[in-house]
Amino acid sequence: MSGYLLRGVSVLGEQKVDVLIDGGIISEVSKKPLAPTGVRTIDCDGLIAMPGLVDLHTHLREPGREDSETVESGSAAAALGGFVAIHAMANTNPVADTAGVVEQVYRLGREAGWCDVRPVGAVTVGLHGTQLAELAAMAHSAAHVRVFSDDGKCVADPILMRRALEYVKAFDGVIAQHAQEPRLTEDAQMNEGFVSSQLGLRGWPAVAEESIISRDVLLAEHVGSRLHVCHVSTAGSVEIVRWAKSRGVMVTAEVTPHHLLLTDELARSYDPRYKVNPPLRRDEDVQALRQGLADGTIDAVATDHAPHPLEDKECEWSSAAFGMIGLQSALSVVQTAMIETGLMTWSEVSDRMSTRPARIGSLRDHGRPIAVGEPAHVVLVDPRGKSVFTLEGNASKSRNSPFLGMELHGRIEATFLRGRATVLDGKLAG
């Protein structure tokens, strides 16, 4: 049996249809019941089908820190989270700043087979922010890199940022900026505000993000280039992106699931699971981010899945590593923050988690509608289900999730990559 019949599935919350997946594509969509032979039938009563999710921002840690994540374990977690394509960030060791490293990550992704792993290339050699990496070599490698980022570090030097924006136009690349003014955030530990003033933790001010985004949208406008802003976290950043888009600047932006749900109040526990970069912000920021995502100012939800070994989180807050894992919980968090609140429809969630991220990453094969002839990248979600993210169900090699033990809406039932089930019944389908 090679194919699947999705019996009575609601595509993006619309009326029920039968969907036939065969030969790697969606071969039939019918309002009347289909009765094909030689395929496995999945009863989809109550389930929603969406185009497979695309993540623009994943840290897989391989090569270098295979103790916290590998391409295999991270992409398995992605499949369980409904993802069919992920972008592996460049801050590995060695840094993904050459064709050799991006090809290695690409190949490891193919071998694992859980989802399409698209390496992100570093903008500067070693992420040092001083010299452009060989961007064209990475673009023309087997890995076909289109997204370039020094994520984890900001391309702070304005002339280097300008040149990078210009240079990648030659191969339709995009610079994904980690917007963080370094001098304003030296030794910064959490959002700068009332909570940080009480906790005595060094503040990470909103202006450190907003000043870089302001500069970069002006640069992108000046040179006519495409800019993508990683993990927007403040109300002010949303306003700047909205303003830039209204001027016609080619800017796109992403928000993480955790910034849509959690606030800096959680830092009061001094539990380093809540330490992340950019930091959790105020409730006003959370509301503005939700609004920005709902009205399309923010184009995409991106996980910023950042695995860290236990010892890097089981220590003093100021010594702990920044970051949270998020692939498996992403869709549930988005449902909780955006669907259950009535801010977005499933169709809009699909736009922000599949269509637009695929377009930003120049993935022609992804983010396609569920229609006859399209590649069969599909995720099946039970929106009525509730799930508690637990360690038993966690496929990542790390456990630094802020959502552990938290009940969230929705449950991912199955994921199909080119018609092949990577996840069935909520479990990896080997």
Binding site: G193, S196, S197, G200, R202, S269, Y270, E316, W317, S318
Partner: protein, 316 residues
Amino acid sequence: MKRHLLSASDLSYEDAILILDTAEELAKLVDGPVKKLPTLRGRTIVNLFYEDSTRTRISFEAAAKRLSADVINFTAKGSSVSKGESLKDTALTLQAMGADAVIVRHSASGAAHQLAASGWIAGSVINAGDGTHEHPSQALLDAFTMRRHLRDSKGDLAGVRVTIVGDVLHSRVARSNVLLLATLGAEVTLVAPPTLMPFGVEQWPCDISYDLDRVLPRTEALMMLRVQGERMNNAFFPSMREYSRGYGLDDKRASALSPEAIVMHPGPMNRGLEISAGAADGLRSVIVEQVANGVSVRMAILYLLLGGASIEEVSL
């Protein structure tokens, strides 16, 4: 009262008054013929100090010993911490030794919270200063000192006008004092150059001023905070002299205080920077007394947290 003392905000009004009253009683007892009380005999108290602080450590040590507890001093220097042992492993080691209370001083804000919340140790955790966060026992001894001088050692500090001057941004003493003094009803004004005020300070339960001279005449308790000269390297202020001119307590400013006002400093002082020798040693200064009161207050904290035999029982 809670099991741990991590923040001055852990203390209800009743808790705070109970500690101050208990400290008064204990002070009277140890001033008498009995220098040492047997209330915590057989209990083990660990001084876990990741940061140099001789005065706080010996104050807690003296308090514990006067209550007959066994004291283990665990300092970062010369211990396995300097070789990079994690907070967790140190905590597990102390737990294995059967510590009834751990008094922790750490350069990281929140270290005491983490020790208390982790489940690594079963005993009480007392925060003896964590990073730029809090130092609740200092706030208690400050309140004790103010109450002695301004409220005849009784009740709360309702209406007492307290001015705290200096590097509020980096001061755990200021944070704990603001919280505790609000609980006790005092009216607190923080004075510092704007660069040394924390972002978000407007939401603290106190007033803010950038002008020391305007605040001085109505001040009843003036607390000068230590200012580190290195701060000028990060553009917090242009020079030590400029800081001192604007925010230092010199002899002239000291004379602008009312005769009943008291001058306090948590120590160690930078004489000539935030406070002149004349002001530090002047008639209004209660700085040395603060040190003595520190022992009484810390005795009360240990006594109440560890639930020692009752004072009446002991004094018989």
